[in-house]
Symmetry: C2
Subunit: 128 residues, 2 copies
Amino acid sequence: MKKSYNNGVEATLGVISGKWKPQLLCHLGKRPQRTCDLRQKLPAISQKVLTQQLRELESDGVIVRHIYGDRAPFKVVYALTDLGRSLGQILVQMSVWGEQRASEVPDMEIRNGHSGFNQILNQPTEAL
Amino acid sequence: MKKSYNNGVEATLGVISGKWKPQLLCHLGKRPQRTCDLRQKLPAISQKVLTQQLRELESDGVIVRHIYGDRAPFKVVYALTDLGRSLGQILVQMSVWGEQRASEVPDMEIRNGHSGFNQILNQPTEAL
DNA sequence: CAGAATCCAAATCGATACTG
DNA sequence: CAGTATCGATTTGGATTCTG
């Protein structure tokens, strides 16, 4: 069915919002990662939701999923696409804005700085 | 209670995501508006949710609420704050990214271009 | 005119058990 | 190892009614 948005902001929000998506994009921005790597970096995410969010990012075209092996146990690697990397500037700016705001609001903390997202920018395109 | 985010992106998403918030910010980016103006521009939003989203934007400091009159009927005007206007660049970029993506994806349409958000940028600060 | 109060529906997220 | 399936909890948005 046809997706319709009032403006581009909503379309972009549809791609990057999701409880774990910013963190997933951040980790994948550093390098491609296996499922077990991601689970290790995000111990609190449940199996179901991890798969779910990855599938959504994939169907939105910002990450790709590569499967290695012909029978279990499989090796599955997720990596940013060019489209995904093109989100880099936006993610960095959103991160900086959020940090600035947090610095002015008491009772608001941000655990990781924007440098994580910065790495998305200088990352070569993966060979497919 | 203390709000804690993993990164600035989540903090920013917390401010701008909400079913009607991008549209509200877009309209308020043009000029301050009364409640009835906003209802007219967003006929599909319910009373409750309009108030709710405006209250959240207000408590996040991106809009202000001014009340005129000492007894009913009141005149309530909402306007972007400097902090709200500082979201302009991000909103424009998100809008452009969303539009570009939509132009490459069949079955995806975006009704309003990014020019709406562009107006946030060249808007003088309101007198308080 | 603007909004509070209820009650309800839908979307998201999570815990757990199971499969190739 | 990676993923599906189910069920339940939480969050979010909506319809309606009422008030100063």
